[in-house]
């Protein structure tokens, strides 16, 4: 198609006349402006910019002109094609923007539709609370000790100064395993973990022992044959009841809020002496307006657990020299703590496995 035109007089080439070129340019620009969407612009592009478009054809004629005329015609056609291309690009951008805008509008969805296609999981609130308590101790530099729930009688009782005839053994209603003369029980407390720790490690010992324990309590709103305890044990040089108080005050404030502390009342446990019941200050009324307080029932204090100075007899049975070391121990119910921390009147939901209950707590308490 290209190549010298020898068929006709180049001077007479109509398409290269200035007014003709101008008309072509105007027609093209008008068509571009008239294109309303990208599809019609595509057609316009073919018609006015394509190989067979008037300006393209005119451009092809330039070669046929005498040399002195080429420069002039070339400039004229070139400018026209440039203007058309520019208009086309500009329109392209405009129409693309319009198209995108329209598309985004069309793709609008109702974002208030439900999105819960996949199941939601959650952890058990008692597990979460055990971990929370463990973290409080770990932050103090303590470690978390564990042991078996089916335990040797000696570790559950004898090593803890609960001899076979100790009246306190009847305080704890123990599940015994068969045969009875195998002396294996379901641990009634996490204290055997303390004994195991002392038997296998040298002081200083700073451990907390959370875990499941068992008593032959009929299952009701406030009793369960299985529940959870956390016990603490410190054995070091120069340990006193003041350290016990300090540790429990710290735990109380971390678990129940700043300023929540504990008080001791004399009590009796075979494994500790002196022994104390530990009450935690009511974190709801703070003891200020107890009369109407549901949580502490007007006491200002909530019974929390037991504690004391490790009985030297226990230290001896566990191989710790009571002349060099002293220690303290404490224990409290995790379920019970959960109940008053979260205003739960009946503990059974903790063990019934209704997924609605655990789900309500998600993965944080």
């Amino acid at each position: 198609m290209s190549g010298p035109n020898t068929e006709y007089d180049p001077v007479e080439v109509t398409p290269l006349k200035a007014d003709e070129v101008e008309a072509m340019r105007e027609a093209a620009v008008a068509a571009i402006a008239a294109a309303t969407d990208l599809e019609s612009l595509k057609v316009v592009r073919l018609e006015h910019v394509g190989d067979r478009s008037p300006l393209a054809l005119a451009n092809r004629e330039i070669g046929a002109l005498p040399p002195q005329a080429r420069k002039d015609a070339g400039q004229r056609v070139g400018q026209a094609r440039g203007a058309v291309n520019k208009a086309l690009a500009q329109r392209q951008v405009e129409l693309e923007a319009e198209h995108e805008e329209r598309m985004l509008v069309e793709e609008t969805v109702d974002v208030t539709l439900p999105t819960n296609r996949a199941r939601r999981g959650s952890r058990h609130p008692i597990t979460l609370q055990s971990e929370l308590i463990a973290d409080i101790f770990v932050a103090m530099g303590w470690e978390i000790a564990e042991g078996p729930v089916v335990e040797a009688e000696w570790l559950n009782f004898d090593a803890l100064n609960l001899g076979p005839d100790h009246p306190a053994r009847t305080m704890q209603d123990t599940f015994w395993t068969e045969p009875a003369d195998h002396h294996v029980v379901l641990r009634t407390q996490t204290s055997p973990v303390q004994a195991r720790t002392m038997l296998t490690r040298r002081p200083p010992i700073y451990v907390a022992c959370p875990g499941r324990v068992f008593r032959t309590d009929e299952y009701d709103a406030t009793h369960s044959p299985m529940f959870h305890q956390v016990e603490g044990l410190v054995v070091d040089e120069g340990i006193t009841m003041a350290h016990l108080k300090g540790s429990l005050d710290h735990l109380a404030s971390q678990l129940f809020g700043d300023g929540i502390d504990t008080r001791f009342r004399p009590s009796y446990f075979p494994f500790t002496e002196p022994s104390a019941e530990v009450d935690v200050r009511c974190f709801v009324c703070r003891g200020l307006d107890s009369a109407s307080c549901r949580t502490c029932r007007g006491e200002g204090w909530i019974e929390w657990g037991g504690c004391g100075v490790v009985n030297p007899r226990v230290l001896v049975a566990c191989g710790v020299d009571p002349e060099t070391y002293s220690g303290f121990a404490f224990g409290m119910g995790i379920d019970r703590s959960f109940m008053f921390r979260h205003d739960l009147e009946d503990l059974r939901p903790l063990f019934e496995g209704d997924v609605r209950f655990s789900s309500a707590f998600g993965s944080e308490i």
């Binding site: 999981g121 058990h124 009246p167 195998h182 009342r265 004399p266 049975a317 002293s326 063990f351 209704d354």
Partner: protein, 834 residues
Amino acid sequence: MKTPLSWITEYVDVPDHVTTEELTARLTMTGLKLEGIHSPGAEIAGPLVVGRVLTMEPEPQKNGKTINWCTVDVGPELNAAHGTGEAGRGVGIVCGAHNFAPGDLVAVVLPGGVLPGGFEISARKTYGHVSSGMICSAAELGLGEDHDGIIVLPSGSGEPGQDVRPLLGLDEEIIEFEVNPDRAYALSLRGIAREVLVSVPGATGFRDPAIRDTPEANDEGHPVVVEDPVGCPVFVARTVTGFDPSAPTPEFIAQRITAAGMRPISLAVDVTNYVMLETGRPIHGYDADRLQGPIVVRRARAGERLTTLDGTARTLSEEDLVVTDDSGIIGLGGVMGGETTEMSATTTRVLVEAAHWDATAMFRTGRRHKITSEAGKRNERGVDATICEAAADRVVELLTTYGGGQAEPGVTVVGTPPPMPVITVAADRAARVSGLDISEERAVEALRAVGCEVSGTGTLHVVPPPWRHDLTDPQDTTEEVVRLVGYDTIPSVLPKAPGGRGLTRSQLLRRRIGRTMAGAGYVEVVTFPFVGEADLDALGLDEDDPRRTTLRLSNPLNSETPGMTTTLLPALLRTAARNVGLGTTSVAIFEAAPVTLPRATAPAPILPVDRRPTDAELDALTKALPDQPLHLGVVATGEAESAGWWGDGRPVAWSDAVDAARVVAEALGLELTTRPADTAPWHPGRCAALLLGDVLVGHAGELHPRVCSAFGIPPRSVAAEVDLDVLLEHAVHLRPSPSFSTYPVAKEDVALVVDEHVPAADVEAALREGAGELLESIRLFDVYTGEQVGEGKKSLAFALRFRAPDRTLKEGEASAARDAAVRLAAERTGAVQR
């Protein structure tokens, strides 16, 4: 221990300004915890007054009953207010009781009054009269169970119209204490009063009810032989003769023992209980006329029998201490008397026994025969051995005062109280243990206040008083000192632990497992580990399935579930069923908990406690315990993805259960492989054995339809159970960083037709091996069965990706590797490329 406050203050003076609340708060802080303050009259309201019976006319009724139409003087004002009686002298009351006579003083509740139980009194027409009130029995006033008759007040005890509450103790404050098992002395007024003395500021003037002049022992009393002075170190016997068995119990005794929770029975019995409450010393009374010959105290012979007061025939053990006479055994010493010498309504001679018994023997006998009694409770915890004579004398005094008898001159005293131990303790021990600044003087003062004899300086020699059997060690005296100085003064000091290691790796990983499962959409539950035959049957376990061998409890709460479970699944399936029953149709739950796998073991030794056990002894303890591996149990039912505006839901499938196990393994850096398994409780064709390398770690898949129906959950529910201990043991630690090639990837897809029984995992493994080291990954992306591959066949489509670590693959390299892979798969599994 419950007692009226007024009984306590009979033995100790408390300043007037000390309120009951302050008094009990102080006692609570020194170890005698207040359980509650009760008032027996709390439920009574309105006019309850003394009335004098003026007239009573018996009127037989058609129903065979005879009622008394009475006129009762209730004082001028109340007579006027309620007086419908004759001549305005009193009120008319219909009364069904007959144990009174004109002139008696009685308790009258008038219209407007309210009795316990919300029983409102009004004037009402009955038996042809208008009865303007009620003459009350003790039971009607909440003062015991005596319905036999109305209360007749002692003559001269009050004037008509006077409030009767103080006369009946209805306005008393009854204080209930929780007494710790080591403080048996506080199970008596004597002990409580002493605690008030040492605990309540300003309390003075302690009057010990056990200090009294007692007659000298002589040979004229009832003969007693103690053959076992260890079991019974002291035996005192006194006799009262000419006793009137019908004499009523004085009101104050009846009220006080009722307040303490005991039922008044007869003067003789009530007096022994009263003195026990007063002094802490249990007393036994015999009908002396029914005794035959001397009393002999000894250990029982095996097989001997005794019917105790409660009517139970008991076979005795050689450890039991018994009281005998010529007729044989007449009592279980210190625990419960026998029927043959029991005091009765005809007893006129009473032999009073005040004996000291060995506490351990009492505890064992009580436990062996399952007897709990007020006497046993005190005897097994330790009683003051030195007050037997005083207590017996007090009983004799009360019996003769109120029962009209005479003390016989004979006083039998056998044995002497065992000595109390001497405790040697550093004077500063209490200070060192408590962290308090306690001087030696303060420590000695505290010990003397509770009755100890203290000598020495620097090192104290402490002899506890005879009622404090709980004081045997330095730590015991330490507790005494600290509690009296005050637990509330102990400072709060946080101990400085050495740098800790934080959570152990296993603890961290278990938390990760919990979070992973929650993240995968499972809800954690906590279940009881008890299991029974019915559960194991419902799982469809074979007769010889090892999971049927459970560790059994001797005393299960529920006889249906006597074993410690070997699998978490029964409890999880029950839990799933409960949720479905509650309307939660899609349930996905998990639990991570130990199971108990019994093994043949020797018994756990009972080791000594006076030294550390040897390592061999500790090893024996550990070996006696069952295996208790941590398991993960998973159950899901309903939809894995719910239906919604986006379209259909997706029901849970066997693959969800397998994936739950895989997700947990991956959280620990491990990869599980599967192979077909046929294991209960799973569907035999839809159960995967889960393997870590060659180690079986659990099973997962769809549950057997019969299992679903047995547990009441929808068919096609799924489950998994995995041994987490094995996974935790192999969890990847310190994994080296991986590196990835950045050269272009070459992708090859292959579709292989195999017999439908060939596991896809086998085909994949063959492809993987055959493809060689250029293979980067392989993924099964489609399984097709149908006409195009023929019956009994399936087509498995795999996407293979090849890449070299150090160069771009040459033309044909990837396809050659693919061909090699297909060849090996064909060789191993009979696969044919489509």
